[in-house]
Amino acid sequence: MFPASVPTRLLAALGLVVSVTACSSTPATTSDAFSVWDPYPQFTAESEWAKTIDKCGTEAGVKIQRQAYDTTDLTSKVLLAAQQGTAPHVLVLDNPVVSTLAEAGVLKPNQDVGLDASQVSPNLAAAGVVNGQTYGTPIGANTLALYYNKAVLAAAGVDPASIKDWDSLTAALAKVKASGKKGITFSAIGTEEGTFQFLPWFWGAGASLTDLPSGKAALELWKSWLDNGYAPNSVVGNTQTTSWQEFATGEYAFTENGTWQLGNAKKAGFEYGVIPIPGRTGGTAPAPTGGEFVTVPAQSDKDAETKAGRVATCLTAPDKVLASDTALTYISAVPSVQQQQVSAQPELAVWVEAVKNAKGRTGDDLGTKYPKISQPLWGAVQAALTGAKTPEAALRDAQASAK
C-alpha cells in the first residue's frame, strides 16, 4: 500500500533483529582487561581487599577488573566461562571445589604458572592437591568450633573448661536444659553446609569418609540431643547463619559455628567464649577447613597465565594476606602470619589451634569423590534427625548410594 515506506520498515525490522540478538549474547570481556573473580560480594571497590587486588595488578603490570559472585554461583559461572573460553585470569575459589575444577582441566597446576604453596601449612594446601600436583594457594582458612554464652553456662553451673569429650559436653547440655535455657544449636541443613557441620563429630568419632557407617556414634549423638531437647528441632533446616541467629538471641548455651562469626559475636551483646569441638573420647576433633584458594585458570595465552601467576602469588604473599584475612576474619594459612594474628588478637589463639587440627574435605585422596560422598551423608543426617531412619540404617543407605 505504501511502497515508499517499505525500506524504512525493512530497516526497522532489521534493527529489531539486531537488538534482539545483541541482548541475548553476553557481553564478552575485552581481551586487554585482566579479570579476577572472587566470592566476596560483601567487599566493595573501596575495601581493603579490592585495593590489594589493584596493588597486585600494578605490580604485575596489568589493569585488573574485579568481579564478585555469590559463592554458590561461582562454580557454574566458571564452568560456563571456561566452556566459552572466557575464564577469568585469577579465580578465588572455595577449597572443596578446587579438585573438581582441576580435574575438569579448568585450572593450571602451580608449577606451570610460578605459584608456590610451600609456605602454607600442608593440611591446608591438601585440598588443592590432585594427582600429586598442587592447584592454587589458600588465601586463609576458617573452621568450626563451639561458641558459648558465658552467662548461660554460669547460671547452669557449667565450667567450660570441664568440657573435654562428648560425655562431658552432653552432661553440660543436660545442666543447661535443667536451668531453663536451651542447649546447643547447629546446622544440619540438606546442603554442603550440613555435611560441613557434621564432619567434626564424624571425624571426632574416628570415622572415615570412605566408610560412612563407621560414623554411627556421631549421628547417634546428634539424634540423642534432639530427642532429649538439648538441641532444637529447627537444626534440620538451619543454615549456619540461622543457627547463629538462634544463638544470638542469648537463649542458647552453645553454637557450632565458624571463624567468620567472630565479628558478629562481638556485636551479640553478651559475653562469649570459644572452645574447640571435642573428640568422642577427648582431645580436639578435626574440623573441616573452610576458606578459598587463589587459583590460575588455563588460558589460550601463555603470557597471560604467567602474569596471572604473578598476581596470584602477590595476593597470597605473607605481607598482603594479613590484611585480607583480617577483613575476612580468617586465620592465615601461613604459620608466621598466624603468629602475627595471635599477637595482635589473643582471642584468635583457639582458632589457630583449630585450624592446625583441621582437615580438608577433599583430602585423603578423595578429590572429586568427595561431593559424591557428601550429598548422601547430609541426606543420612537429615533422615536420622527427622526419625525417618535409624542412624545406622541411614548411614548404611548413604554408603550404598555414595558409590
Partner: protein, 292 residues
C-alpha cells in the same frame, strides 16, 4: 513481490526471537540430556552420546517417585485452593462495596512481593522454635508442629505458602472475568426467582468457564515450575520430603559441587513434557467449546 518481502521482514524478528530464546535453549537441553557429560567434557567438549541413559538413571532413582508424587500433590492442591479461594474473593469483591477497590489492591500484595521476601517470611513464621504460627498454636493449647523440619509436614508448609502467593493472580483474572458477564443475564435469572446459589451454579460458573480454563492452565504452568519458594523454605528437605521435579533438577545440576548436567537436563525435559501435555489438553477442550 515487494510486499511479500516486507511481510517476511516483519516475520523475521519474531522468528529470530523464537529461535534464539526458545528453540536453541530447548535443543541444548535435549542435547545435554542425551550425552554423558562430566565436568571435563562440559568444558572441553566431546561428551559421548549415551541415548536414554540419563533418563534411565533418573527414572530408576528412588527420588524420582518422591519428586513426581510431590509435584503432583503440590500442583493439584495449590491449584484447587488458589482457584476456589480466588473465585470466592472475586465474587465477594464483584459486589462492589465501600473500600472494595482498596481492599482488592491490598490483596495483590503477595503477588507484588519478591519471592525471596515472601518465602523467607513464611520460613520465619513456620520456624519450629521461634515461629509465630507455633506460638499461636501453643496459645490455643495445641501441640506445636515442626512445619519445615518434619518429613510429614514440609510439603504441607510449602504448599500453604504457594497457595497464599497464587491467590492474587486467580483473584485478578477471575474478577475481570466476572466483570465481563453481561448484567442482563443476572437480571433474567433474578426475575426467574433463582437463589444466590442457583445463580452462581447455573449462570456465573458456566459463563466464567473460558476464563477459569486459562487461569487454571497458567496456574498449572506456574506451579509446576515453582522452585524459589521450596528452595528457600526447605531446600526440598528434610531428606527429600518436599522435593519436586523442579527442585530436584536444580539440585542435580547446581546443588552439589559436582554438577550432574545430564540427569538434571533429563528431569527438566520431563517437566517441560508435562507442561506441554497440559497445554495440548487445554487447546483441545477450548476447540471443543468453540465447536459446541
Amino acid at each position: 513481490m515487494r510486499s511479500r518481502l516486507a511481510g517476511w521482514a516483519f516475520l523475521l524478528p519474531l522468528v529470530a526471537y523464537l529461535a534464539v530464546c526458545y528453540a536453541y535453549p530447548l535443543f541444548t537441553n535435549v542435547d545435554l540430556s542425551i550425552r554423558g557429560y562430566t565436568v571435563r567434557s562440559f568444558v572441553h567438549g566431546g561428551a559421548p552420546l549415551v541415548g536414554f541413559d540419563n533418563y534411565v538413571t533418573v527414572f530408576s532413582d528412588p527420588t524420582f517417585r518422591t519428586a513426581l508424587v510431590n509435584t503432583v500433590l503440590f500442583t493439584l492442591i495449590s491449584l484447587f485452593c488458589q482457584y476456589t479461594i480466588g473465585l470466592a474473593a472475586a465474587l465477594f469483591f464483584a459486589r462492589g462495596f465501600r473500600l472494595s477497590a482498596t481492599l482488592r489492591a491490598l490483596f495483590l500484595v503477595p503477588w507484588l512481593l519478591p519471592l525471596i521476601v515472601s518465602a523467607s517470611t513464611w520460613a520465619w513464621l513456620l520456624n519450629s522454635e521461634s515461629g509465630l504460627v507455633n506460638a499461636v498454636l501453643k496459645g490455643v493449647g495445641l501441640d506445636p508442629v515442626n512445619w519445615l523440619t518434619s518429613p510429614d509436614w514440609s510439603l504441607v508448609a510449602v504448599t500453604i505458602a504457594n497457595i497464599w502467593i497464587g491467590i492474587p493472580f486467580n483473584l485478578v483474572v477471575l474478577y475481570s472475568g466476572l466483570q465481563n458477564i453481561p448484567r442482563e443475564v443476572y437480571e433474567a435469572s433474578a426475575l426467574d426467582g433463582a437463589s444466590g446459589w442457583q445463580t452462581f451454579w447455573h449462570v456465573t460458573f458456566p459463563l466464567l468457564r473460558p476464563v477459569s480454563a486459562i487461569t487454571l492452565l497458567l496456574g498449572l504452568v506456574y506451579t509446576l515450575k515453582v522452585f524459589d519458594i521450596i528452595w528457600i523454605m526447605t531446600k526440598g528437605g528434610p531428606s527429600g520430603s518436599s522435593t519436586t521435579l523442579a527442585t530436584w533438577a536444580y539440585e542435580l545440576g547446581f546443588g552439589n559441587m559436582l554438577p550432574r548436567f545430564g540427569p538434571s537436563a533429563a528431569v527438566g525435559n520431563v517437566l517441560i513434557l508435562i507442561a506441554v501435555v497440559a497445554g495440548l489438553l487445554y487447546i483441545r477442550t477450548q476447540r471443543r467449546q468453540e465447536l459446541a
